[in-house]
């Protein structure tokens, strides 16, 4: 059992020191892991939940008319309810299990747009989208003859109400936008965006890949129409993700993938499809993955988002303060650490991000370097690539210090003197 099962009473520092023990990888490897936005590490309880599924409940859900099969089905459907409650969705059948956020976005882009978009309709995406929330719409536009339009942000990542309102026309059908940017860490006001869109009958698709793991997300309060996220970025295994969709849309939309379990009946000439959510879950489901995701959610709930945010913000504040003192470091996006949600992308004058990552790696520090799957944003910001650290609650102050110390030495290692800054 993981340490967090105990009631929380210790002071934060001690509490998070114990949390650290829930992650075996940190015991086994010398590793300062600061690439949490790419994928998170997994606590033991999540790995155990998956193993337990295979050792006690493993059968093909929905298919076996035997006890084990019923257990597998129950476990899977309970996981769906856990996700439903976590997102504050109205109905469990609004939760579709997918492989990852990318698949969820493709599902909507295929199913929704092929049937609801016409020539000349307009799709809006923000310029800060991850490729996974950009390419599916770029392609949908090509397929359907719709027009793709970009919602721009400023250098801080701010998108104004005006910019949105000016972009929307009576041909706009859908706005696809991320809740938290994976490059700038800024948060978009989805509630306001949904309100503006809904006044105009426009559907809102939200990318929660970077938000759902870190802040409480209430789809009913935000009133967004679709939301996706990936399990692997929030303590769960790879291969499981979620698409939330409002019931009335999911019911109207045609299925995306076809096969076993998504039908009521099949004949030579056609098929009657099952009701949601099964209509969108063709083939054998990843029940063990869903169960492990549910366990990850329980783990997060037990710590509580309040504590998680407090911790992640404290580490972000520390990192940004220290980084700003290093000559040549330029942080992308907002000044205020509270607008970063643990994500800090930066450049270091004269040193290419790949070299930075490589040198940090020599000190066992794992960071991301490159375009972060957001090439149009980087172009918009006028940087060709950047280095990114991304923080999770299980990181430590000491890790941040290790990173800062290593970063401070890089320009010297690359042959620059202290005064070389342009």
């Amino acid at each position: 059992m993981s340490k967090v099962e105990k009631p929380i009473s210790q002071p934060n520092e001690l509490f998070f020191r114990e949390i650290r023990n829930d992650f075996s990888i940190f015991q086994k490897l010398k590793l300062v892991y600061l690439d949490n936005a790419a994928t998170s590490q997994k606590p033991n309880c999540v790995l155990q939940a998956e193993q337990e599924f295979y050792e006690r409940y493993n059968a093909n859900p929905f298919r076996g008319l035997y006890e084990l099969g019923e257990h597998a089905t129950t476990q899977y459907e309970q996981a769906r309810q856990t996700v439903q409650k976590f997102l504050h969705a109205k109905y469990p059948e609004e939760i579709i299990f997918t492989r990852n956020a990318t698949e969820g976005l493709n599902l909507v882009a295929y199913s929704f747009s092929n049937y609801f978009f016409n020539d000349g309709d307009e799709i809006v995406v923000s310029i800060m989208e991850h490729h996974s929330n950009l390419l599916p719409w770029q392609q949908a536009a090509k397929r359907t003859g719709a027009l793709l339009r970009y919602l721009e942000c400023d250098q801080q990542g701010k998108i104004t109400e005006e910019a949105l309102k000016n972009l929307l026309t009576d041909r706009t059908k859908l706005v696809a936008i991320t809740q938290i940017s994976n490059v700038l860490g800024c948060k978009n006001d989805l509630k306001k965006i949904a309100q503006i869109c809904h006044e105009r009958g426009i559907v809102v698709v939200a990318d929660g890949a970077q938000s759902v793991p870190h802040i409480p997300v209430d789809v009913t309060d935000l009133d967004i129409d679709f939301l996706v996220f990936s399990g692997h970025k929030m303590l769960a295994p790879m291969g499981i993700g979620v698409l939330y969709g409002k019931k009335r849309f999911l019911e109207q939309m045609p299925p995306f993938l076809f096969g076993g379990e998504m039908i009521d009946s099949v004949s030579r000439n056609g098929a009657v499809f099952a009701p949601i959510p099964h209509k969108f879950e063709a083939g054998t489901v990843n029940a063990a993955g869903a169960v492990a995701l549910a366990r990850a959610i329980q783990y997060i709930n037990h710590i509580g988002f309040e504590k998680i945010q407090e911790r992640e913000t404290a580490l972000t504040v520390l990192a940004m303060e220290e980084m700003k003192r290093i000559p040549g470091v330029h942080i992308l996006g907002a000044e205020d650490p509270n607008d970063h949600h643990g994500i800090i992308s930066f450049t270091l004058e004269g040193v290419h991000p790949h070299d930075i990552a490589f040198i940090l790696n020599a000190d066992h520090i794992a960071v991301r370097a490159g375009h972060h799957c957001a090439q149009p944003l980087l172009q918009h910001l006028g940087v060709s690539s950047s280095t990114r650290i991304s923080i999770a609650f299980y990181n430590t102050e000491q890790e941040i210090q290790t990173f800062v110390k290593s970063l401070r030495q890089i320009r010297r290692k690359m042959g620059y003197g202290e005064s070389d800054i342009l």
Partner: protein, 143 residues
């Protein structure tokens, strides 16, 4: 991974002070080399006359390894014949795979500073970018 020692003086120097990073008006061979996976992007420009590399330069964007490697390469091949340049490329690419003799390595002069890259799969592409681009240019020209 011993990259503390990897960014050695040779590399750092060629990266900070590349002798050949500029435009080349008289170039008669120009080719872009790209590493899609990491975004390195160089334009290699050569002036080849009577089968000889008379002059060369590069421009573009990339990590220290791709930049230094291209600069070192140009140091080596300027003044050489096409065949010699291609042979050097061949040796360099084999060095990266760990398949060279000591004697061959000597021919590479400063480029041998990149030998250790073979242990770092993610950076191999950066080191060979310039060389691959040069090889393609000269080979195509031969045909």
């Amino acid at each position: 991974m011993e990259n503390r020692t990897f960014y050695n003086e040779v590399l750092i120097d060629h990266n900070l002070h590349p002798a050949h990073k500029h435009d080349l008006k008289h170039a008669n061979l120009i080719l872009e080399g790209i590493n899609p996976s990491c975004g390195d992007d160089i334009w290699l420009k050569l002036q080849v006359e009577n089968g000889q590399v008379v002059d060369g330069a590069f421009q573009g964007d990339g990590c220290a390894i791709s930049q230094a490697s291209a600069d070192i390469m140009l140091d080596l091949i300027i003044g050489k014949t096409k065949e010699e340049a291609l042979e050097l490329a061949d040796i360099f690419l084999r060095m990266i795979q760990g398949k060279t003799t000591e004697k061959e390595l000597e021919k590479l002069e400063e480029a041998a500073a990149l030998q250790d890259i073979s242990h770092m799969p993610a950076r191999v592409k950066c080191a060979v970018l310039g060389w691959h681009t040069m090889k393609e240019m000269l080979k195509n020209e031969s045909n």
